[in-house]
């Protein structure tokens, strides 16, 4: 039941346009997050934010395998998932800044962005909090015959939450079209996952009869190829799957986590950034395959940069909700 995907293959029938669009999405997430950090440093950002930098290939690879009306649930580290699933940076920045133009009218913020038009059931600030919700969306999809699939993103820290095992059991019993995507970035906040995770991760879903695979989370093509296979299987009625994506967050647990030496060595960070950067790896491959050239990448970078700048601008200029809105939306 437990297999490891051969990462090198995976062209997976994607056309050049799609490949470049995935590349662009990864760049978008990277620049979006750098702007978030910038906003925080400039003290314009209320609260905290958990940056996705370094993990872009996971969100982009998975979401490329989904339809727009498929569902995702996301985490405290959710900007990448939202963008990859189709949210617009401007309304996201507005949300991060607590503005009325944001996806949640400013009520959700970084950890709660949700967007029905892109199937995003919401980021979640409770570690593991959305594992049932994703299965529930899959339950609806199955019962209503919509052929939709639900993806539950979560960090390896959420393996500690019992809810996961309750819903994996249910998802298998009821053959729900839900994919559990575990983003193992090696750390639960400031603690290495090996100190919090006994046994073999993939054996856990397998014990419930759920097909489980792992993939190089820095290789967007491998992520896509594997996700595609699992999503297609779920869509065709084969039930749940589990995908472990091995990845790394370059920055702190949150924007304020700057001195990290006490829990992880600088060299480790350096190694991932120089050797395993998902954007660079993908770019090199695209060039190696003659599917793109440096000039195109520069062009993309420029375009995304100006898009992100405009989006930040939009967010900063947008108005706060009036305090009369505080009591709206408590009840539907």
């Amino acid at each position: 039941m437990t297999t490891v995907t051969n990462q090198s293959k995976a062209h997976s029938g994607l056309g050049t346009e799609q490949l470049l669009s995935m590349y662009r999405q990864m760049v978008t997430i990277r620049l979006f997050e750098e702007q978030v950090n910038e906003l925080y440093t400039r003290a314009l950002m209320p609260g905290l934010a958990h940056l996705y930098i370094g993990e872009e290939a996971v969100a982009v690879g998975i979401c490329a395998a989904l339809h727009r009306d498929d569902y995702i649930t996301s985490t405290h580290r959710g900007h990448g998932h939202c963008l990859a699933k189709g949210a617009a940076p401007d309304r996201m920045f507005a949300e991060l800044l607590g503005k009325e133009a944001g996806y949640c009218r400013g009520k959700g913020g970084s950890m709660h962005i949700a967007d029905p038009t892109s199937g995003n059931l919401g980021a979640n600030a409770i570690v593991g909090g959305s594992m049932g919700i994703a299965a529930g969306a899959a339950f609806s999809a199955k019962n209503l015959g919509t052929k939709r699939v639900a993806v539950c993103f979560f960090g390896e820290g959420a393996l500690g939450q019992g809810l996961l095992y309750e819903v994996m059991n249910l998802a298998r019993l009821w053959d729900l079209p839900v994919i559990y995507v575990c983003e193992n970035n090696l750390y639960n906040e400031y603690t290495h996952f090996s100190e919090t995770t006994a046994g073999d991760i993939l054996a856990r879903p397998a014990a419930f009869g759920i097909p489980a695979e792992s993939v190089d989370g820095q290789d967007v093509r491998a992520v896509y190829a594997t996700a595609r296979r699992l999503v297609d299987a779920a869509r065709s009625g084969k039930g749940p799957a589990f995908l472990l994506c091995n990845t790394y967050r370059y920055r702190g647990h949150h924007v304020g986590d700057v001195n990290r030496e006490y829990y992880r060595p600088k060299q480790e960070e350096q190694r991932w950034m120089t050797e395993r950067d998902p954007i660079k790896l993908f770019g090199d491959w695209l060039i190696g395959q003659n599917l793109a050239n440096k000039a195109q990448f520069d062009e993309i970078l420029l375009q995304v940069k100006s898009e992100i700048e405009a989006a930040v601008e939009f967010g900063i200029k947008a108005a706060y909700p009036g305090t009369d809105q505080v009591e709206e939306n408590i009840y539907a």
Binding site: R105, G129, S130, G132, I133
Partner: protein
């Protein structure tokens, strides 16, 4: 107006009838819980539903209260209207994250983008010699949480009408049924009806004292009111029916009229439902009250197993009667 046919049925039957009618009306309604299908729950409240609606709509779950509640939240967000069954209300402890951090907040946190039209059915009430983990009435917890609505039916009539409203509501609603009242009988019209939330019901009119009572305690209050009648005290018994939304106006007006109020609820008295309601009345009827509002809840102890001990912890007709008598004598 058409003639209204009325039958006697038990509270359990009334709940079942409401569910059956709503499931016929709306194919999106489904039921999830432990032993809800063939067994129809240990209380047999759901008997027969799986036969009519099949196993895809009346669904037995593993013993995973958090898990199936979470699934209901997600299902409610995406087009279904699930009803989850929590066998003993004591087990809501396992669902608090899904109900409070998820279900209650999804609509607000998403700025209105998502809705969670689900119902959680749970039981409350002691007296069954079931011990401290099967006898609690924990509805105060949910009443405390914005985003949730909390229903406490006290008669078959109310149970049916309120359940239908709960299922049609677009918000997470928790519906607490007293497990000692499943066999309690009362009249229920054949014709369709619903009962709005936030409208208290005057179960008995009176002039000398107001007794606000919830769920199981309504019959206790009515019993006390009969006893009080015997000694010439006219008690008004009011059932808020929903702790949230709360019909403050009706409670306050009655207290203003009678100038005395007792609040009876089977939850633990401390930091419980009686505190909120007593405080609302004490404030709203401040200039008309002749005596402090009296609170009568469950004793501040884990509910004991031993019969005489357990009985001592639950508000009784006698306790309410004595409290009312003392208050009316006083002024």
């Amino acid at each position: 107006m058409p003639e209204v046919t009325v039958r006697e049925m038990t509270l359990g039957e009334a709940v079942r009838e409401a569910l059956a009618e709503e499931m016929r009306r709306d194919p999106r309604v489904c039921i999830l819980g432990e032993d809800v299908a063939e067994a129809g729950t240990p209380f047999k409240v759901l008997s027969g539903l799986v036969q009519e609606f099949g196993k895809t709509r009346v669904i037995d779950t593993p013993i995973s209260e958090a898990g199936f509640t979470g699934i209901a939240v997600g299902a409610a967000m995406t087009g279904l209207r699930p009803v989850v069954d929590i066998m003993f209300g004591d087990f809501i402890t396992l669902t608090m994250d899904q109900m409070v951090n998820q279900a209650a907040k999804v609509h607000y946190m998403s700025g209105g983008a998502w809705k969670v039209p689900m119902v959680m059915r749970a039981t409350l009430g002691a007296g069954r010699r079931s011990g401290a983990q099967h006898s609690q009435s924990l509805h105060a917890w949910f009443s405390h949480i914005p985003g949730l609505k909390v229903v406490l039916p006290s008669t078959p009539y109310d149970a049916k009408g309120l359940m239908k409203t709960a299922i049609r509501d677009d918000n997470p609603v928790i519906f607490f049924e007293d497990k000692m009242m499943f066999t309690f009988k009362g009249p229920v019209p054949t014709e369709e009806y619903t009962i709005p939330f936030g409208v208290a019901d005057i179960k008995r009119e009176g002039d000398d004292i107001t007794i606000v009572a919830t769920s199981s305690m309504v019959q206790v209050a009515l019993g006390a009111a009969s006893l009080l009648e015997g000694i010439g005290i006219s008690a008004e018994v009011i059932d808020p029916r929903t702790t949230w939304p709360l019909d403050e106006k009706t409670l306050i007006e009655s207290a203003k009229k009678t100038s005395r109020a007792i609040v009876v609820d089977e939850g633990y008295e401390r930091y419980g439902v009686t505190a909120e309601i007593a405080s609302v009345i004490a404030t709203g009827a401040f200039y008309d009250l002749d005596a402090p509002v009296k609170r009568i809840g469950a004793m501040h102890v884990p509910i004991p197993f031993s019969s005489p001990l357990e009985d001592a912890t639950i508000p009784s007709e006698h306790t309410v009667f004595e409290a009312a008598r003392a208050m009316c004598k006083r002024s």
